[in-house]
């Protein structure tokens, strides 16, 4: 899967300086990095009417698997929800669920923590995003019903995102008289 790049002319720096593409990471059992679409390594910026490529920090944007990707893994996907934890306690967590295909209204569900391996319990906190898939897992010529909950490992915030947000917030505040 190739990274999204923009090539424009004239290029003011040697092309080789932009060759560091983010590496596609295969990370099981979470699968989030199986595809790296949405990776951004370069951006075009106009300076004095000259368009040039500048390098940015690679931003990998993991996303839930598509139907086809699940199928390749031997999983017949019947329903996929994207969830966010609303509250949690020692035994369970309650979450808001959005249908990935947008066909069902928002649902709420309470899961037992036992649905996840103990090593993942630290990921359960209010605001944490996860994916819940339901379907059949293929095992040889047989199949079994399966429910898989996995927490998304989104990239942490980086300095430049905070700086951009601060600038944008200042503009917004100034224009409407918010303190």
């Amino acid at each position: 899967m190739s990274a999204a790049t923009t090539t424009t002319a004239p290029i003011r720096e040697p092309r080789s300086s932009f060759s560091e593409r983010p590496v596609t990471v295969r990370s099981t059992p979470d699968f989030q990095f199986l595809s790296a679409s949405g990776e951004v390594t370069v951006a075009d910026v106009k300076v004095s009417n000259i368009t040039m490529l500048i390098r940015r920090e690679p931003l990998r944007v993991p996303r839930p698997l598509t139907f086809e990707e699940w199928s390749r893994l031997g999983f017949i996907l019947l329903q996929k929800w994207e969830g966010v934890v609303v509250e949690s306690d020692n035994d369970s967590f309650t979450a808001k669920l959005l249908d990935s295909h947008g066909k069902l209204p928002p649902h709420d569900a309470t899961f037992s923590r036992a649905e996840l391996p103990k090593s993942e319990h630290k990921l359960i906190e209010p605001g944490a995003p996860f994916v819940w898939t339901l379907g059949y897992r293929k095992i040889g010529n047989t199949r079994e019903r399966a429910s898989v909950v996995y927490f998304r490992s989104l990239p942490p915030l980086i300095e430049s995102e905070i700086a951009t947000a601060e600038k944008s917030a200042e503009d917004l505040r100034g224009s409407i008289g918010w303190k």
């Binding site: 309650t94 209204p105 928002p106 819940w132 917030a169 409407i176 918010w178």
Partner: protein, 384 residues
């Protein structure tokens, strides 16, 4: 088969407009969310918070005003967000965009540079599903748009003691803020900075809710001889200067209590303070609750309902608390989902509307009308 909200309204008198001399308090609650619509006589309307109508997914307030043939662009004077939680401001961006002549008001707790920074940071997040923060940002963008052709677009910030009267409302109507207190505002500003603002290299999460609702805006409404106390989500904190005790300590209203009470925080025990009932509400005044289903144990609980019924015989709920049974078109998904969860259900299942109207004249009585799944609390059955 559950009847839809629209089906239930068919044939009802919901579309009957209030008379010019009538005050109206309409409370909407679909199981997740809350909205209050006020008519303060002579076609002046106020919208407090927002929720979406089950089925149409349109803001309840706009749908209702359209049924009444009220023009929101002209007749709504004020749109107010009591606090930023999703269940109180779903769709408030669309509400404000449609209410072109309205002022926007929100809690003074949100009047901080950190809050605006937080909104902009969460905008860049990669998590599906909107939040209350997105709705506030939509309101801010609308304010900025209006600023292009108007001089004043600043929001109005609510703090205990602020009164909305002229020129926002006519001289006969008054909506006063009883909270947040100065202490609550200071605490909320600190919490936003220290608990909500994301930091570099920290894990990326959807915007969490703060544990308490100290910044919530409680409103007192008086028009002629009609009055009501709208409790938002303010809880009792048992700490000086915060929660309902702060409201009681600073309240300087007349000896007469308020005629009715929009009960705070979905009737939960954390929002109960006996002196609020004894000192601020008239004996056997009306009370309205909206349920909150998005937690392990939906509220109000059976004990909450019993406690409220001891306070007044005239208590109503917009829809019964609790989740509806999960139904999926694929039987395999249905079975597997039920096995994999402790509970699962649609978050907005039963939409209801409690409408209270009365003339502003001295001897008038409040008239209660129930639409959709709204019912008297006495008729509600919740397993203990």
């Amino acid at each position: 088969m559950l009847k839809t909200y629209a089906d239930q309204l068919a044939g009802s008198n919901v579309a009957e407009r209030p008379r010019d001399d009538e005050v109206e308090v309409s409370v909407f609650g679909p199981g997740y969310g809350e909205c209050v619509v006020l008519h303060l006589t002579n076609d002046q309307w106020v919208i407090i918070d927002s929720c979406l109508e089950t089925g149409s997914e349109q803001p309840s307030a706009l749908k209702y005003l359209s049924l009444l043939n009220v023009d929101p662009a002209k007749d709504v004077r004020l749109v107010l967000a009591t606090h930023y939680h999703d269940d109180h401001i779903a769709g408030i961006g669309a509400v404000f965009e449609n209410c072109r002549a309205a002022q926007f008001a929100c809690s003074m707790a949100l009047n901080s540079a950190d809050w605006v920074k937080l909104i902009e940071i969460y905008r860049s997040y990669l998590i599906t599903g909107g939040s209350g923060v997105d709705e506030i940002r939509r309101v801010m963008r609308e304010l900025r748009k209006r600023g292009e052709d108007r001089e004043v677009v600043s929001p109005m910030f609510c703090i205990a003691g602020r009164i909305f009267g002229e020129p926002t409302l006519t001289a006969s109507a008054e909506v006063a803020c009883l909270s947040p207190s100065d202490a609550a505002v200071a605490i909320m500003h600190t919490r936003i900075r220290e608990k909500l603002l994301p930091r570099v290299q920290r894990r990326r999460l959807a915007v969490p809710s703060l544990e308490s609702n100290d910044g919530s805006v409680v409103l007192a409404l008086r028009v002629g001889f009609a009055s009501a106390l709208l409790g938002a989500d303010l809880e009792e904190r048992n700490r000086p200067g915060l929660g309902w005790q702060a409201v009681l300590d600073s309240h300087v209203g007349g000896a007469d209590g308020y005629d009715g009470f929009k009960i705070p925080h979905h009737g939960s025990s954390t929002a109960y303070h006996l002196d609020v009932w004894n000192r601020l509400i008239v004996p056997n005044g009306w009370a309205v609750i909206t349920p909150y289903n998005r937690q392990k144990e939906p509220i109000p609980r059976a004990t909450d309902c019993q406690r409220i019924r001891r306070m007044t015989e005239r208590s109503f709920i917009t829809s019964p608390p609790g989740w509806s049974r999960f139904r999926h078109p694929d039987s395999t998904v249905q079975k597997t989902a039920e096995e994999a969860t402790l509970r699962i259900g649609v978050e907005q299942s039963k939409h209801g509307h409690v409408r209270l109207r009365r003339s502003v004249a001295a001897e008038a009585e409040w008239r209660v009308e129930l639409f959709g799944h709204a019912q008297p609390l006495s008729a509600l059955r919740i397993a203990a």
